[in-house]
């Protein structure tokens, strides 16, 4: 007790030296970060020892928590002890790591003063750390405004602790929600379009009843635009201390790749992404490339782990409090969802899931300190099964990267995080994190009328991550939409939930407004954006990285060939399907049937369009061959042969078969893109297949080659990826319906 009084005295004298010491005294939990930062291990060790002594004294006086408590951390125990006695304001402060909890002031007379002091101090500490121990500068910076409840600074608490106010709820349930738009430009990410739902204030305010038996409530704050990170400070970001030591080591590879100092901790891209993630806002990033893949994967894994650890700490704290509380205490401990799974990561292939789990392990339990349950089974399951890549005539690089590793697309793994272990293959209802493919979930979710279907585990997802969302489009987009429709529904069974601890907003069925969704895709597509706009209703708002495409993939076409862009009219996306078909049949096909125009490949992105064209060709008795993802290998070989040897005038070619097989079709003289391709680089790739070395010398000539593209204004985004945004905009808005570009010089 005396010791603490002493500290207080020092504090009041405002001596900076004592402050530092106290600083270190109290920050037991941040051991590792302090080691990293101050690099003054010895001194700190001394301080730590001192601290231990104090703690022991304390524990002798105080009630000690039972052994059964999961979190063995002495510090936590201390904190929980104090909160029992201190006032409610202090209780809110408890969970944060930064809270320096001067710990000892349960002497009533000093408590109040100390309370404010300790918070002042906490703020100072943050400054201290920021300036790397440069103490003297900070003295004047501590003003009253900066004194904030440190726990509330934590975006996790801010996002999940409170209910929605009526005004915000009304705003959210509107379609579209009444919101505010902000545009920002960041160094790495470029243009950010930030949309934040704003509470509707115009509706008549409810008369406040004179007398009410309902308690006063604190509501969730409306979202704020994210701020870019200047420096990476673990405490300011509220990264859990448990993983501080692993953050850099797990990210080493990415740092080395970009030739950065280890002290940078994150790469510039990671910094900006994490600023948004940690603000608990939805994110759509459609510029994922294979070179950025690892960075992105790391940063969301870090976010996931951080989120889960905070959730877990909270629950463990509450468990301890509940076991201590009296029978009739009115206090509520709400810290859970209706079911356990909180994080869902959707990826297209097992190889991607493998990488994610590896990263999670690196961050949470690097080799020596922790253990992973069922690791062998996981290794067995998720490796192997690679596609054989041809050595001669190699496939394009992006294909090799995409399909390296296990390419199976039906899988789902549940994971549980405990103090020092990561358990794989846990039952979904005992899992914290689920990593799955859309197909893997779709099978579980099932459809109406199926005997065994289960989607209860999707009820309380707080964090949804979709990586490589563009590949879902190649797999089966409907599966994804179907799964997304089954989020946050009322469960059919209780699954052993303790209903007294379900968060109020989950009980009220507002989980969908609290879910954060992060989507990473390599291409910007309206389909993906519509998911963001329609199925993600995060009350904190969303950030869409939206950079115009300057140069399209048309620049990569090396051949001298005219590109003819046909624009047709359509009034809605649905109508454009019909209009496209009509236009193709009336304006394109008749000309193309001229014997001069033989060796025409018709590239069809949508399988539905493909089937329609095929049926039409059959009905009209037009000579053609076809290759789609369902064709047998022998048929494909035959079709390619016939096409090359001028035996078939047309080749119907589906985009999906190109995505999964990447044939080099030979003998193409004309290409018709029935719709601009989903992946812009497929465009240049297809066009470049027309080079002379691939041609049949007896089938047409070099001067008779064309590329035609059909597009409506609903294909604007796809067209922009081909020709560049500015050119596409001009083409789509000009009076003339046909535009011709020439490539090659």
């Amino acid at each position: 007790m005396n010791k603490k009084k002493r500290i207080y005295k020092h504090k009041s004298q405002g001596k900076s030296k004592s402050k530092i010491r106290k600083n270190k005294n109290d920050r037991v939990i941040n051991k590792k970060s302090l080691f990293n930062r101050y690099k003054n291990k010895q001194k700190i060790k001394e301080e730590m020892d001192k601290k231990c002594v104090i703690e022991k004294q304390f524990l002798a006086q105080k009630l000690v928590y039972s052994e059964s408590e999961e979190e063995g951390d002495v510090y936590d125990q201390l904190v929980t002890c104090f909160t029992k006695e201190s006032n409610s304001k202090r209780q809110q402060v408890v969970d944060s790591d930064i809270e320096s909890d001067c710990g000892s002031e349960h002497l009533n007379d000093v408590q109040n003063k100390l309370d404010s002091n300790s918070r002042l101090e906490c703020e100072e500490q943050m400054n201290l750390i920021q300036n790397n121990g440069n103490i003297t500068d900070n003295e004047n910076e501590v003003t009253d405004d900066e004194v904030v409840d440190s726990d509330l600074c934590d975006s996790f608490t801010k996002h999940y602790e409170f209910d929605l106010s009526d005004e915000l709820l009304v705003s959210l349930s509107n379609t579209p929600p009444s919101s505010e738009n902000v545009m920002k430009t960041w160094d790495v990410l470029g243009n950010l379009s930030i949309t934040i739902p704003k509470p509707v204030t115009t509706i008549m305010k409810k008369m406040k009843p004179k007398i009410t038996i309902l308690e006063e409530k604190k509501f969730a704050p409306t979202g704020m635009p994210p701020l870019p990170l200047k420096t990476v400070d673990f405490d300011k970001l509220y990264l859990k201390s448990q993983i501080h030591g692993n953050i850099v080591s797990a990210n080493k590879k990415n740092l080395i790749k970009w030739d950065l100092e280890i002290s940078e901790i994150f790469t510039p891209l990671q910094k900006e992404l994490f600023a948004i993630m940690n603000n608990y806002q939805d994110l759509l990033y459609s510029e994922r490339t294979f070179s950025k893949a690892d960075e992105i994967c790391y940063i969301y894994c870090l976010h996931v782990i951080n989120h889960m650890l905070k959730t877990r700490t909270k629950i463990v704290h509450h468990n301890a409090k509940i076991s201590k509380k009296s029978e009739h205490s009115e206090e509520e401990f709400r810290d859970q969802g209706i079911v356990r799974p909180k994080v869902l990561i959707l990826v297209p292939f097992k190889s991607a899931a493998y990488k994610i789990v590896k990263t999670l392990i690196d961050i949470l339990v690097p080799k020596e300190s922790g253990q992973v349950v069922n690791k062998n089974r996981f290794e067995e399951d998720f490796t192997g099964g690679e596609l054989l890549m041809p050595k001669k005539n190699p496939k394009p690089e992006d294909y090799e990267l995409m399909f390296s590793g296990n390419t199976e697309d039906t899988f789902r793994v549940g994971m549980t995080i405990t103090k020092k272990t990561l358990k794989l293959y846990t039952d979904f209802y005992a899992s914290d994190i689920i990593v799955a493919s859309p197909l893997g979930l779709r099978i579980l979710v099932g459809v109406e009328g199926e005997e065994e279907r289960d989607f209860d585990f999707l009820a309380s997802i707080e964090l949804l991550i979709m990586d490589q969302a563009d590949v879902f489009l190649m797999q089966n987009w409907d599966h994804l939409l179907h799964v997304l429709d089954h989020f946050h529904l009322q469960p059919k069974k209780t699954h052993g939930t303790d209903f007294s601890r379900v968060r109020m907003w989950a009980v009220n069925g507002w989980s969908k407004y609290y879910r954060q969704t992060l989507i990473f895709s390599s291409i910007a597509l309206p389909e993906i954006k519509s998911i963001m706009n329609k199925k993600c209703q995060n009350y904190a708002g969303k950030v869409i990285v939206d950079n115009p495409i300057e140069h399209g993939s048309i620049r990569q076409v090396v051949l001298q060939v005219p590109h003819i862009y046909h624009r047709f009219k359509a009034d809605s996306p649905l109508e454009s399907v019909e209009a496209r078909f009509e236009y193709f049949i009336k304006h394109i096909l008749p000309k193309q049937r001229d014997p001069l125009m033989s060796h025409t490949l018709i590239y069809v992105p949508s399988y539905f369009d493909y089937v329609r064209l095929r049926n039409y060709f059959k009905k009209e008795d037009i000579g053609f061959v076809q290759i789609c993802e369902y064709s047998k290998d022998s048929k494909i070989a035959r079709a390619r042969d016939m096409f090359f040897h001028t035996e078939a005038h047309f080749l119907l070619y589906s985009e999906r078969v190109h995505f999964f097989r990447r044939f080099r079709i030979k003998g193409i003289r004309h290409i018709i893109f029935y719709q601009p391709p989903t992946y812009p680089h497929f465009y240049s790739e297809m066009c470049n297949l027309m080079q002379e070395s691939n041609q049949n010398r007896y089938g047409g000539s070099e001067c008779n080659m064309t590329v035609s593209v059909l597009c409506s204004r609903y294909d604007a985004q796809r067209a922009a990826a081909l020709t560049g945004a500015a050119r596409a905009a001009r083409a789509l808005s000009s009076d003339r319906a046909v535009h011709v570009y020439l490539t090659g010089d």
Partner: protein, 440 residues
């Protein structure tokens, strides 16, 4: 009025005389405020158009506000719900707390009705109620309970289910326990459940029992859970209302249907409740009447909760004038416009007779009750006469006139049987579990 009731009334008001006129005068003089109800709740009463307290309210509220346990004897429709809702809400105002009161009722419909009253009375102070009855989704109810309502209105079976299976739900904080239709809760084999509930709620609480009839079992219950209760009685024990005209009709079993149709025809334009003994009987009678072009709707325990509510609403808003029901509907349901009650099957428990005919001639209006007595029911009928203490007049029906209908009714019966057979076969095909026995 008998001496019995006067005695209890004397305790609180001297002016209360057993004659109807003076009763009206008396109601004009006493207000809710006089009973000790706070202003907020008085305003709520006014909004509900409750100008003056009813008899049972006058009796019970002051006793309740004193903090005593109550055994209240009053027919439903006499303002019983208000009699316990007002004191509970007032106590809640003084000491706001979640899971404050538990109301047990025997039927689901009654539970919803009580909840409506609580919500109407407590709207201005923000009372939250949860109705926990069978036939509804368990998870949805668990979520409702998780919102920590102030008042829980429940049927015992489902409540026990939640107590046992819903983690994180307990009733350790309950301050008030009310059992509505207390004797029925016991009669219907709720005893085991009620015992379980009593075991998990604190002994430190107020307990109110309300019922129109009291059995010895209630006294047993009283020993188990009441502390020094005050008995509040406003009506004669088993008396039926004066304005109720009661008749019996002695007929052979095989003509029951014909006579039913005859009576419904003769009194057409009125609203009817027809009581039958079994669920299957209710279904059959409803189909039979529909075949004859009469707007009948069944209500029985094997219907889903939504259907039951829908049926009740159809009857309440007068789109159907005939409600065919089992004893599910014999108590508590607040249906204001029943003109005639027909006991197609005589009640097995004679006290049920009181409840059944209590559906009509409510709130000072006139009503008719006709009981069909077959050759097998004579003894049961005599017991009823004994219970109500008077001989009923015979309902006049010219047999020849009735039997004119025989041919049409027989045809309808045949059609009904075919329909029913198809219905049950369909149930077998789709594999429903709730198979009804095929009616003979």
């Amino acid at each position: 009025m008998t001496a019995d009731s006067e005695q209890s009334e004397d305790e609180t008001s001297i002016t209360d005389q057993p004659t109807l006129n003076e009763q009206v005068d008396d109601e004009a003089t006493v207000t809710f405020k006089d009973l000790g109800i706070v202003d907020v709740l008085c305003e709520a009463c006014e909004e509900l158009k409750w100008k003056t307290p009813s008899k049972i309210q006058k009796e019970a509220i002051p006793v309740a506000l004193e903090g005593k346990d109550i055994i209240g004897l009053a027919e439903t429709g006499s303002g019983k719900t208000g009699a316990f809702a007002l004191p509970i809400l007032q106590a809640l105002l003084e000491n706001p707390q979640r899971y404050f009161a538990l109301i047990l009722t025997p039927t689901r419909e009654l539970a919803f009705q009580i909840s409506e009253q609580f919500e109407a009375l407590g709207a201005s102070i923000g009372v939250k109620c949860a109705v926990i009855v069978g036939g509804m989704d368990m998870v949805a109810q668990a979520l409702m309970l998780s919102k920590k309502p102030h008042i829980i209105i429940a049927t015992p079976g489902r409540l026990v289910d939640h107590l046992e299976n819903t983690k994180g739900f307990n009733l350790k904080a309950v301050k008030y326990l009310v059992m509505d239709e207390a004797d029925r809760i016991l009669n219907m084999d709720f005893e085991v459940e009620v015992d379980k509930i009593l075991r998990v709620i604190p002994r430190e609480r107020r307990t109110y029992l309300f019922s129109a009839t009291m059995t010895k079992k209630v006294q047993k219950l009283q020993r188990a859970s009441l502390q020094d209760p005050v008995k509040v009685e406003v009506s004669t024990k088993y008396q039926t209302v004066d304005k109720l005209q009661q008749y019996y009709l002695f007929i052979p079993v095989k003509y029951k249907d014909v006579y039913l149709v005859h009576v419904l025809n003769e009194l057409s334009g009125h609203s009817f409740i027809v009581f039958v003994a079994t669920c299957a009987g209710a279904l059959r009678a409803a189909l039979l009447l529909r075949n004859l072009g009469l707007a009948a709707v069944p209500l029985h325990g094997q219907m889903s909760q939504n259907k039951r509510l829908a049926a009740l609403n159809k009857f309440k808003n007068k789109s159907r004038s005939i409600l065919i029901c089992t004893d599910v509907a014999s108590r508590g349901l607040d249906i204001p416009h029943v003109d005639v009650v027909i006991n197609l099957d005589i009640p097995l428990h004679s006290k049920d007779y009181i409840h059944r005919v209590g559906r009509t001639a409510r709130a000072g209006r006139a009503g008719k009750a006709i009981t069909f007595v077959s050759q097998y029911d004579v003894e049961l009928y005599q017991r009823i006469e004994q219970l109500i203490g008077k001989q009923l007049p015979k309902y006049d029906a010219e047999e020849a006139e009735v039997l004119i209908l025989q041919e049409r009714v027989a045809e309808a019966q045949r059609l009904t049987n075919i329909l029913l057979r198809n219905h049950y076969q369909f149930q077998i095909i789709v594999g429903r579990h709730s198979l009804l026995p095929f009616p003979s």
